[in-house]
């Protein structure tokens, strides 16, 4: 029973990783950019939730909406200000990577400047009570996290598979030049992808704060890195891959804790990254993409 409870906790934690991993993967699919500032978007979302819920005292739905919109805007602004020129000029990937790390540091320091570096408490974001399921007792927060993520991932699949902009995203990710010939504006598609990815990270932030109600300007680093590992494990660029990778990393973490090895949880996660890179660098669902000339 304990084992099953740990699996469910892992799925809950993992669905947060998955929501964040989607942002890494979608942006990478379209721009081949690893947006290391993406983890800090979680932090931005957490502070947006804090400002709305605690400082302004708005209801939860308004706080979530505000966090999602604010993160989407921040994501697009980062893309336009920091990345767009580099992408237009086909800058080397290392320049993009360095820029992304710079943006990450900027966000962390900016929020430290505004909110100071001490941890802020954002308790009771989500209603918390035990829910009996058969012989198990699962926290409502865990169930809400899993359910919300499932709904959002279904919506994302519908967006990508059924809508015009979703098809434009897939086409651009596969062959940006051919997509342009069809009339797809790369610029708009990239901006839209950043908005969606950042919005998903904001949802991840709200769920994360629901489970761990203490926020700091640096909270996004480790969470972001683990989500990145999830994206690589699933196959970066693949949307279902990011979902599966996130869940697997969550369960791996949870089981590591369950066997009493809490101290090495992070080592296990990054050990998975090393294994993936050694054994199957394209990840579980990744395609072997040939470098375009």
């Amino acid at each position: 029973m304990e084992f099953l409870t740990q699996i469910i906790n892992g799925l809950s934690q993992g669905s947060i990783f998955a929501l964040v991993a989607l942002g890494y993967s979608m942006v990478y699919g379209i721009t081949q950019l690893i947006n290391f500032a993406h983890g800090d978007i979680i932090m931005v979302g957490a502070y947006a939730t804090y400002v709305m819920l605690i400082l302004a005292g708005t209801p939860l739905w308004a706080a979530i909406l505000a966090a999602v919109l604010f993160c989407a805007v921040v994501g697009v602004v980062i893309e336009q200000v920091a990345y767009q020129r580099l992408l237009n000029k086909n800058a080397p990937r290392i320049s993009l990577l360095i820029t992304a790390i710079g943006v990450s540091m900027l966000l962390q320091n900016l929020f430290q400047l505004i909110f100071k570096s001490d941890a802020k408490s954002v308790s009771n974001v989500l209603p918390s009570f035990p829910v009996p399921i058969g012989p198990l007792e699962i926290s409502s927060v865990t169930l809400i996290t899993i359910a919300t993520s499932v709904v959002i991932m279904i919506l994302l699949q519908l967006l990508v598979k059924k809508t015009r902009i979703g098809k434009a995203m897939r086409a651009t990710s596969e062959d940006a030049g051919a997509a342009k010939l069809m009339g797809v504006s790369s610029r708009n598609t990239i901006a839209f992808t950043f908005a969606v990815g950042s919005g998903l990270a904001a949802v991840g932030a709200v769920l994360y704060v629901g489970a761990y109600p203490s926020i700091t300007p640096y909270m996004g680093s480790l969470l972001g890195l683990k989500a990145f590992v999830a994206a690589v494990l699933g196959g970066i660029g693949s949307i279902p891959g990011a979902m599966i990778g996130g869940l697997l990393i969550g369960v791996a973490e949870s089981l590591t804790k369950a066997v009493g090895l809490s101290q090495i949880t992070d080592a296990v996660v990054f050990g998975i990254l090393i294994l993936v890179l050694l054994i199957k660098p394209t990840g579980l669902l990744g395609k072997n993409i040939k470098e375009k000339v």
């Binding site: 434009a168 051919a178 997509a179 009339g183 504006s185």
Partner: protein, 242 residues
């Protein structure tokens, strides 16, 4: 046809890749209703010329005019809205999307869903094999089917003119015949065509006029039948041993 109005006019086009002078003072025109072919060997600059027209590479100087619009000042994704559709070299279909989705991407710029549906029907009528495979992932099609899909996708934008870049590349002779007969059909239904080809023999057979591109410059031009009879063209491009 020589009196029809000029649709596409290229004047003194110059394109560089870094310090490499790829296209040197290339000028040609395509009139309404024509099939014009641009033939030449590998590396002569055929694809570069097309990419300059469709905006995928930027010209250094010269004029590119399509139906009164200056293409040089326009971004690639706007050019199709003028009615200039391209079937790119190597087909470049969206391999992980279905046949149907590829065709939908062809109609990306259009909002008139009733007419889009009619065009779907027309294209499926002309290319019945695509209809059979509409739910199939495009990457699993054979080379010939992929080429048909690339042509169908370009037609879905309801263009005024079609640019085709080496549609015969990598296809068996039988399929090459089929693709060329499709191009001829499309032209007979009123579509203006600019065809870039290495397969000079087939291209000259269906074209009205032709230009020969050699190391970035136009070395010869004329009606397709004149060029097909020209001893130099015959020796260099048609494999005639005379």
């Amino acid at each position: 046809m020589a009196d029809n109005k000029v649709m596409l006019s290229v004047k003194d086009l110059e394109v560089y890749y870094g310090s490499i002078h790829a296209i040197k003072k290339v000028s040609f025109e395509v009139r309404e209703g024509e099939i014009v072919t641009l033939i030449g060997a590998n590396g002569a600059g055929k694809t570069t010329t097309l990419h300059a027209i469709s905006g995928l590479v930027k010209a250094k100087s010269g004029e590119l005019d399509f139906c009164g619009s200056n293409l040089r000042s326009m971004e690639a994704h706007r050019i199709i809205r003028l009615g200039l559709a391209q079937v790119p070299e190597g087909r470049r279909i969206f391999a992980s999307m279905t046949v149907q989705e590829n065709l939908e991407m062809g109609a990306y710029i259009r909002r008139d869903s009733a007419n889009i549906q009619k065009d779907f029907d027309r294209i499926f009528e002309r290319l019945p094999r695509l209809k059979e495979r509409r739910r199939q992932i495009a990457g699993t099609l054979s080379g010939g089917e992929q080429q048909m899909l690339a042509i169908g996708r370009a037609l879905m934008s309801n263009p005024k003119m079609l640019l085709l870049d080496e549609p015969s590349m990598g296809l068996s002779p039988l399929l090459v015949n089929e693709i060329f007969s499709i191009i001829r059909d499309v032209n007979q239904s009123g579509m203006t065509v600019l065809l870039v080809e290495q397969n000079a023999k087939q291209a000259l057979e269906i074209a009205n006029r032709a230009y020969v591109l050699e190391t970035g410059t136009i070395s010869m031009s004329g009606t397709a039948s004149d060029l097909a009879a020209d001893p130099k063209v015959r020796a260099a491009y048609l494999g005639a041993a005379d």
